[in-house]
């Protein structure tokens, strides 16, 4: 943890446009960018580009830094947002897209059930989700379990480390899979309260 004095000195150097300030920020920005971009094949170049852009944004927006005593943390927030924007660029996402768990269509049988709870249960039962994926969705929506709790259960079952963030991504991807079925969406639209 850097001291307030260190932050204030750094803030003052950067605010007055001194190269020393920006040179002192650079290694930390680069390291974090490098760590966040670990999935990219051009990781070194992408990390340099993101850290460079973050440095320029710090220079341009330093007047809006409200807490100079936490200046380094403020610059890291800028960097993290720059990296997230980089990772979200469409060409990056296309390249990094993970294969779907199961690419088959859901092909739900038409139902005459008009009760929303029953329809949702039917969807979850018929959907081609792995047991783990089903537990992650059902656990959140019907057992109201936290991701920390679900991660601990899955870690016990698999014998591997499972983080809450893994649970979140798994759930989002599987819900996206359900969402991609027009029949499910049409059925839900008719039943969901406006």
């Amino acid at each position: 943890m850097k001291s307030s004095d260190d932050n204030l000195r750094l803030y003052d150097d950067c605010r007055t446009g001194r190269a020393e300030g920006y040179e002192a920020l650079w290694p930390g920005l680069y390291r974090v960018a490098y760590a966040m971009l670990r999935e990219l094949p051009d990781r070194d170049q992408a990390a340099a580009d993101c850290a460079q852009l973050a440095l320029i944004k710090v220079y341009q927006t330093i007047a809006s830094c409200r807490t100079p005593t936490a200046f380094r943390a403020w610059t890291m927030q800028i960097l993290r947002r720059v990296v997230l924007d980089e990772l979200r660029r469409p060409e990056r996402r296309r390249r990094m897209a993970m294969p779907a768990e199961d690419s088959s269509d859901l092909a739900l049988a038409p139902t005459s059930v008009d009760d929303l709870a029953a329809v949702v249960q039917q969807i979850l039962t018929a959907a081609p989700l792995s047991e783990r994926s089903r537990r992650v969705v059902v656990g959140r929506y019907f057992a109201e379990r936290s991701d920390e709790d679900l991660a601990a259960s899955e870690a016990t079952l698999s014998g591997e480390e499972v983080r809450p963030s893994h649970i979140q991504v798994t759930r989002s991807k599987n819900l996206a899979k359900l969402r991609s079925d027009p029949q499910i969406i049409a059925q839900l639209r008719e039943l969901v309260d406006p």
């Binding site: 760590a35 070194d44 709870a117 109201e144 969901v192």
Partner: protein, 223 residues
């Protein structure tokens, strides 16, 4: 919560529509969301919209996961083999591009233009029919003892290869209508053009090559 409400929540997540604004709001809240989660606060209750959006948007969920990894206390960040040097040329002031010789002022616009392009662009304003928003606009204040302000604005031209550059000059000791006939030369790599100001201190250069914008330089003669 009863089973109908639980099903309703899941159905609403599945039916959630996506737009850039929702993703942008989510990203803005993501740092605080992860910080609350890592601090073992009731993060889903504190940020219900973010929690719901993460379930309905894979891109934002992946962003969240990247952030979660890096913000964990004691996160072991993989170290790069070497750290390249930063490019600090952005620290050069636009003022360094201004020089004087007698009554002539030379303004090299490259640095000011680089900064203008690097700044986040504000939302487009509504323009009257037929009036086009500028490609960029750069203002230099306190240019020298005589010139209070100099504004350079480029507009799209009729052709894709060219643009129209308008200069607006404010002097410290002269105002309308005494701003007429200040002589200006706009030069760029491979060409130049001359013009004089009108009584408002405005001059227009038509048919400036767009690909020459980065090398624009201005010479202003004040009698």
């Amino acid at each position: 919560m009863d089973s109908k409400q639980q099903a309703q929540n899941l159905a609403e997540t599945l039916l959630a529509t996506h737009d850039e604004a929702a993703c942008s709001q989510c990203l803005d809240a993501l740092e605080a969301y992860v910080a609350a989660q890592l601090a073992r606060q009731a993060y889903r209750a504190l940020f219900p919209q973010t929690a719901r959006h993460l379930d309905s948007c894979v891109a934002c969920a992946e962003s969240y996961a990247v952030l979660y990894e890096v913000l964990q206390p004691g996160a072991a960040l993989s170290a790069p083999a070497r750290i390249p040097a930063p490019n600090l040329s952005f620290l050069a002031s636009p003022r360094e591009g201004i020089s004087h010789s007698g009554t002539a002022i030379f303004v090299q616009l490259a640095q000011a233009l680089r900064e203008a392009f690097a700044l986040p662009q504000p939302p487009a304003l509504a323009f009257r029919d037929g009036e086009q928003p500028p490609l960029f606009s750069v203002a230099l204040s306190g240019v020298n003892a005589a010139v209070e302000r100099l504004q350079v604005t480029a507009y799209p031209s009729d052709t894709a290869e060219h643009c129209l550059v308008q200069l607006q000059i404010e002097l410290r000791e002269r105002a309308w209508p005494d701003l007429a006939d200040l002589r200006l030369q706009l030069s760029w790599q491979g060409g130049s053009a001359t013009a004089s100001t009108d009584s408002w201190g405005s001059a227009v250069f038509t048919a400036v090559p767009r690909d020459a914008i980065a090398s624009l330089a201005l010479t202003l003669m004040i009698d």
